[in-house]
Structure formats: structure tokens, C-alpha cells
């Protein structure tokens, strides 16, 4: 059965999405357990795949039994096996954490919501697993289309943000499609591995170079790289809490994965990094993203909005790291995909728990939160440490690689931007800790033991949050294994 795991990986969420959305019309009580069970199953499959890849090398799964350039293949290799596990784990944890939200917000549309949730996930999983450039586009659209819907039913400005996201998302996806068209016109094939074989013969092809630029431009729009990030903060911060924890960790990260995939295994590194001017320009864009994201985050007065700008900065980390074009940089970018997904998940789950209890995530409402919701805050603090980049949390190690990459490439601007953003993150989170720790002020020399009243979120929220928080530390401690046993094997030989 193992040889069919790559197919199962996506069939399970897809089929269960269909069943769940049908079940929404028949008996709503079954929807949630079904969704959780299917995600757990898919997670198990992905772990099995990762183990298999680590033991026996990459797997190529031929859909419909046709050999690669003719049919569509799924490729599970060292690069995407860990990403798959993370995606599914993120989705599962967030689903459990969002249970109370889903029951409250979408009571009569639960089937549709969970159906969209699972479809979104199958889109994301598919993007990561596919070995066909066009198939990636189709899955991209599934992920985006469901994403618009998941965001669109949120607070106040959600529909407008969602529509703007839809416009930008469509531009991005269409540019990607156009890029595939250019690749196709130059090579005549759509299979990633096949393209990679043909690229070296087309070293000087302008069409192929334009294809690279167009593909990357499309993906940059989708991942909200500065200055194309305008849609992201509104879309993510207005999304319903249940969706924010799914979409914020996954979409941008999966797009960055797609960039890594396209850059490394479609266009070979030799081609992608062949023009220093392009790489340099993109790294400077990334620097601008990091700096502007950090500064804008400083100006926010709401947790979720602040996080969205941190995401903008983190996108800069990964894009910059990748386009440094050296081993440490690319490793760091890839590692950061995994780590950042986990970090963002933890942050958004914490916010979701806070909003659940307080009804708001404005800074001024967070007073005394350490006393009210200690467990949530433990998770929050660990995630914050990870975002700042304090060892032994995982954020430190990916930042470590990124900075090393910057040093090796002599790109001091990038190094400075990373350090700057770490410092800004420290300021950002300490501001919140201060509010949550101090206020309301103790009068005089505290002779009062009646602090904030303990008022923790339900256990279905806190447990996934704490698991995610612990995983941040675990990911940090197992960085070595992830890097040496997976990511470094995934890097093609062309990277120095």
C-alpha cells in the first residue's frame, strides 16, 4: 500500500471534503468528527511518506499510470516530505482549536465550511506534492478559491478584503499560468523534472528567462512580497478566527515552497541564479519587505494585524534567503517554511483563544492576560520567542541559516535587515507582554492578592496551542535531523 501513499495523501482530504459537505445536508453532527478523522489519517499518511522518503529516497507516483512527461506525476522527495507533514499537522491542530468557533460562527453552514476547509487543504497538499507545473496551477486555484470563501465570511471588512485578495490572487495565479505557457513554448513540456532536463540546453533562451520572471512575479503576488503585499494584512486580520489560523500559516508558506520548487527543480539553480542582477534585485526587495513589514507591525494596535505584518516580514526572510542562491540561504529559506508555518499557527491559535475569551484582540484589552489565561500565554510566549529568534526555539535556527547565508554571500544588507527585524520583533512582543503582565497597575506596593481572575479558554483550544508551542521547541532541537536528513539532500548539486 505504501506505493499508493502519494495518491492517498490528497484523496483522503478530497473525498472527505465531498462527504463532509454532503453530510452537512444530512446530519451535521458527523461533519466535525469526519473532518478530524480524515485529517488525522492524511497526517498519518504524510508521516509514513516522510519516513519512507528518509529510508528509501524519493517516490514518483504516476497518476493514471502514465509515464512522466505524458501523464501527471506526484513526487515526494526530501524537499516536500517535511512540508507535507507540517501542512497537515497545522490543519489538524487548527481544526481542533477552531472547533468552538466553527460551532458558534457557522452553525448552519458547518458542512460547507468544513468542506471548504478540507478542499483548501487538499489544494495546499497538492501544490506541495505535485510534479507537474500545470497541475500546480489547478491546485493553486483550488487553494485560493476556497481561501477567498474562508476569509469572506469574517468580521467587518472581510468581504472587501477577500475580494481584493481574489483580484490579487487571480493576477498572481494567472501570471504563473502565463509563465508556464512561456515554459511550454520554449520546451514543449509541463513536467517539472522534464523541464529541468531541457533547461540546460536552453541556457541563453530569452523566452525561458522571461518565463522565470513571470512565474516568480506571479508567485510573489501570491505570497505577498513587498511591494505587492497590500492585500495580505486586511485579508488575514479580518478573516474569521477559525480560518485565520489555517490560511495565515499555510498560504504564504506554500507559495514560498512553490517558489523554491520552481526555482530549484523546474528551472535549475544554474539557470535561476545565473543572473546576479535579478537575484540582487529580489534580495533587495526582500530586505525592503523585512524592514517595512517590521516597521508597519510596530504601528499596529491589534494583535492579529500586527501578526499579519510580521508575516510580510517573514516572507522577506524566505524570499531573500532563497535568492541569496547559496546553500545556507536556500536551506534557511526551506527550513523557515516549516518553522514559520508552525510559529504563525501558534500565534494565530493564541489570538483565536484570546478573542474567544475577551472578544477583542486590541492591545488595550489585553491587560492582566497572564493571570487570566496563563496557558494560552505560555503558548503565546513560546511562539513569540520563536519569532524573535531565541534558542532553542525553531525560529533561531532558520534565522541562523539565513544569516549565515547572508554572510557567505556577502549580502550585508540582508544580514542587517534580519537582525533589525529580530530586534523589532522583540520590541513588538515585549510591548504586549508588558501590557499583559502589568496592567492594571498595582496600587502602591502590591498588597493585593486579588489579581486578574483565572478565565482560560476551553481545552480544545488550549491543548492544540500547547502542542504547537512545544513543537516549536521540538522543531528547534531536531533542526539538525531535518536539515541533514532531508533538506540538504533535496538541494540540487548546482548550489554551492
Amino acid at each position: 500500500m505504501t506505493q499508493h501513499f502519494p495518491a492517498l495523501l490528497i484523496i483522503i482530504p478530497l473525498l472527505s471534503a465531498l462527504l463532509v459537505s454532503a453530510m452537512g445536508w444530512i446530519d451535521r453532527r458527523w461533519c466535525f468528527p469526519l473532518a478530524v478523522a480524515s485529517l488525522a489519517g492524511a497526517l498519518a499518511v504524510s508521516i509514513g511518506l516522510a519516513a519512507h522518503v528518509m529510508a528509501a529516497g524519493p517516490i514518483v507516483y504516476k497518476m493514471a499510470g502514465w509515464r512522466p512527461p505524458i501523464g501527471i506525476v506526484y513526487v515526494i522527495d526530501y524537499l516536500n516530505a517535511p512540508v507535507l507533514v507540517v501542512i497537515l499537522a497545522v490543519a489538524l491542530l487548527n481544526l481542533i482549536s477552531a472547533k468552538v468557533w466553527i460551532e458558534k460562527d457557522f452553525e448552519d453552514k458547518m458542512g460547507a465550511y468544513l468542506g471548504l476547509y478540507l478542499l483548501f487543504l487538499s489544494g495546499m497538499v497538492g501544490i506541495v506534492a505535485t510534479g507537474d507545473a500545470f497541475n500546480l496551477y489547478v491546485l493553486l486555484e483550488i487553494g485560493s478559491l476556497t481561501g477567498y470563501a474562508l476569509i469572506g465570511l469574517g468580521k467587518e471588512r472581510a468581504p472587501l478584503s477577500s475580494l481584493n485578495y481574489l483580484f490579487m490572487g487571480t493576477i498572481g495565479a494567472s501570471f504563473y499560468l502565463l509563465g508556464i505557457g512561456y515554459i511550454y513554448i520554449a520546451t514543449g513540456t509541463l513536467n517539472m523534472a522534464d523541464i529541468a532536463l531541457l533547461v540546460p540546453q536552453l541556457e541563453g533562451s530569452g523566452t525561458l528567462f522571461l518565463a522565470l520572471i513571470i512565474c516568480m512575479a506571479g508567485l510573489f503576488v501570491k505570497m505577498a512580497l513587498f511591494p505587492l503585499h497590500g492585500w495580505l494584512p486586511n485579508a488575514y486580520s479580518n478573516a474569521p478566527s477559525a480560518s485565520a489560523g489555517l490560511i495565515a500559516p499555510l498560504t504564504t508558506k506554500v507559495m514560498i515552497y512553490a517558489m523554491v520548487r520552481v526555482g530549484l527543480t523546474v528551472f535549475t539553480p544554474a539557470f535561476t541564479f545565473a543572473r546576479p542582477l535579478l537575484s540582487e534585485a529580489i534580495v533587495w526587495l526582500a530586505i525592503a519587505a523585512i524592514v517595512s513589514g517590521s516597521l508597519l507591525a510596530l504601528m499596529q494596535r491589534r494583535l492579529s494585524r500586527m501578526f499579519t505584518y510580521i508575516i510580510v516580514a517573514e516572507v522577506g526572510y524566505m524570499v531573500g534567503g532563497f535568492w541569496l542562491g547559496n546553500k545556507a540561504g536556500v536551506t534557511g529559506a526551506t527550513l523557515h517554511i516549516i518553522n514559520d508555518a508552525a510559529m504563525t499557527l501558534t500565534l494565530f491559535m493564541a489570538v483565536s483563544a484570546i478573542i474567544w475569551k475577551l472578544g477583542s484582540d486590541k492591545f488595550e484589552d489585553l491587560q492582566g492576560l497572564f493571570g487570566k489565561m496563563p496557558f494560552t500565554m505560555i503558548g503565546f510566549v513560546i511562539a513569540a520567542l520563536a519569532v524573535i529568534g531565541i534558542p532553542p526555539t525553531c525560529g533561531f535556527f532558520s534565522k541562523w541559516y539565513l544569516i549565515t547565508g547572508g554572510i557567505n554571500a556577502g549580502q550585508w544588507g540582508f544580514v542587517a535587515a534580519l537582525l533589525f527585524s529580530s530586534l523589532v520583533n522583540a520590541v513588538l512582543f515585549f510591548r504586549i507582554f508588558e501590557i499583559a503582565f502589568f496592567e492594571p497597575f498595582a496600587e502602591g506596593h502590591g498588597h493585593h492578592d486579588h489579581g486578574p481572575v483565572f478565565n482560560e479558554a476551553p481545552v480544545t483550544m488550549v491543548a492544540p496551542l500547547l502542542i504547537a508551542a512545544l513543537s516549536l521547541i521540538a522543531l528547534g532541537l531536531y533542526t539538525g535531523d531535518i536539515v541533514t536528513k532531508l533538506i540538504q539532500l533535496a538541494l540540487p548539486a548546482g548550489i554551492a
Binding site: I11, G65, L116, L145, G206
Partner: protein
């Protein structure tokens, strides 16, 4: 904004147009796109899948996996429209129009007023912007719709040999229903093809597609490899592929028909399923 947009657009466009010089000429049969991969499909398509229309064989077999997701995209769109727009209403929340059939008097019932029974024989509900004399439209549609549907079924079934297939057929089927809903009214269309049925058909259609794939998996072959169904269907592997294509096309037709109708319901009544176009 407009100025910025103009600049961005002119720059991008200029870059792209400047580059078209490097493209193979329009209609060049020797470009890589036309010589590298696609000849395989043309030369072996019929032998592999027994479908003369190569587009169909590529669509539903060689790249059938894409098409499964294409259907899923449609389904997702239906789900999304429902999720975004649908709102349940209690009768009496909005003003309604009724016609008292025996007298021909039109009644406007305000919010909170007493409504006639749903199946009342003497009162008929009217759209608030109804057209008084639509008898020609109604009757023409009544005649045309069956022909559209038959043609749609032909398109689905004949996809192997001529342009068309599940998707086009499904859209045509949906179009016939939409025509019905426009020519009569939305409520009657919904009574014929309820929302729940549309939703379930939508999932069922995709399920037929994906289920066929899973069935192949159960027979020990790769996902969507219809050859595995040969023992089940009692035909040769090539014919099994041909039949497999038909099965999934039917699934596509189901899903597309139901979902397009569903989207129409939600869009045309802004989610209220009350008064359509």
C-alpha cells in the same frame, strides 16, 4: 491610481510585446511546443484510449488528474457561493407580492403580515418585479428546454468522437434549468431541483470521478488508471480506458450541472432563494 496602473500596464505590456519577437511564429508546426510532447498524444491517443478526439483523451485520461481538480474547482466555487451568500429567512421578513387568482387582484403584503399558505390554490406568489405577459417566453422555453437537454446528453456521451464532453454537457444541462428558472420563476425551479439535491449532486459528481480513481486504486493499479477496471467492465484494457473516460465525464456532467445551477440560485436571489431574475 489610474495613472500608476497605466504606467505599470504599459511597462509590462511593452516588455512582453518586445519579447514576442523571440517566439516561434504563429502557426509554426516546428516549435518545441508542437514537436516535443504533443505528437505522442496525437499518435497514440486513439490506440491508448480508443477516443478519436485527442482533447478528450488527454483531458480525461492522460491528464485526468487535472480534470478531477477542475471539477473540484467548480464544486468549490459552488460551495463558496453558498457559504458566502446563503441566508435563511423566515417567511414574512420581506414584503411579498401575491396574486389572488380568482379576482386577478395583486396583493402586496408588508413585513410581518399574514401570508397565504404555501400550497394555496387561490393565491400565487409573484416576483416583485414581475413581467405581466410572458406567455410567449414561457411557452417557447417549454418547447426548447427538452431539446437543449437532449443535445446536452449527446454532448456528454459523444465527447469521445466530437468536441464536447462532460463539462460542456453539464453546462448545457445547467443552462436549460437556468432558462426554466428565468422564464418561470426561481421558486418553481427550486421546487423541481431543490438546493439540497443540487448540493448533493455536486458532491456526488466529483465523488464519481474520484471514486473511479479510488476504485482503480482498490484494483491495485495507480490512481485513475482505468485499465484496472477492465475485469470489472469485462472489456479489454484499452476499452476500459474508453469506458473510464465516459464514466468520469458523466461524473463531471453531474457535478457541473448541479453546481452551476446552485451558483445561479445563490447569485440570482442574493442567497435568499426567494425571488430570482
Amino acid at each position: 491610481m489610474k495613472f500608476l496602473a497605466m504606467i505599470a500596464v504599459v511597462l509590462t505590456g511593452g516588455l512582453l510585446i518586445f519579447h514576442t519577437g523571440a517566439f516561434p511564429d504563429f502557426g509554426d508546426a516546428n516549435s518545441p511546443a508542437n514537436t516535443y510532447l504533443s505528437p505522442y498524444y496525437l499518435e497514440n491517443g486513439q490506440a491508448d484510449t480508443h477516443a478519436p478526439n485527442v482533447v478528450t483523451s488527454v483531458l480525461a485520461d492522460y491528464r485526468g488528474y487535472d480534470t478531477m481538480f477542475e471539477t473540484t474547482v467548480v464544486f468549490a466555487a459552488g460551495l463558496a457561493c453558498f457559504f458566502l451568500l446563503r441566508r435563511k429567512q423566515k417567511p414574512g421578513d420581506t414584503p411579498r407580492m401575491y396574486r389572488h387568482l380568482p379576482t386577478g387582484v395583486t396583493l402586496h403584503i408588508k413585513e410581518g403580515g399574514t401570508l397565504p399558505a404555501e400550497d394555496s390554490a387561490v393565491f400565487r406568489r409573484l416576483d416583485s418585479e414581475f413581467v405581466p405577459h410572458q406567455i410567449i417566453i414561457k411557452n417557447t422555453c417549454r418547447i426548447v428546454i427538452p431539446f437543449i437537454q437532449i443535445f446536452a446528453l449527446y454532448v456528454v456521451a459523444h465527447g469521445h468522437y466530437s468536441p464536447g464532453g462532460g463539462f460542456q454537457g453539464g453546462v448545457l444541462l445547467a443552462a436549460s434549468f437556468i432558462l426554466y428558472a428565468i422564464s418561470h420563476d426561481l421558486r418553481r425551479a427550486i421546487r423541481r431541483f431543490p438546493e439540497k439535491v443540487a448540493a448533493l449532486f455536486g458532491s456526488m459528481g466529483v465523488l464519481i470521478y474520484a471514486g473511479t480513481g479510488v476504485l482503480c486504486l482498490l484494483f491495485g493499479a495507480n490512481f485513475l488508471n482505468y485499465e484496472a477496471l477492465a475485469p470489472l467492465l469485462g472489456v479489454s484494457p484499452v476499452m476500459a480506458r474508453s469506458h473510464g473516460i465516459l464514466i468520469v465525464e458523466i461524473g463531471v456532467a453531474f457535478a457541473v450541472m448541479a453546481v452551476i445551477i446552485w451558483i445561479y440560485y445563490n447569485l440570482s436571489s442574493a442567497g435568499k432563494h426567494d425571488e430570482g431574475l
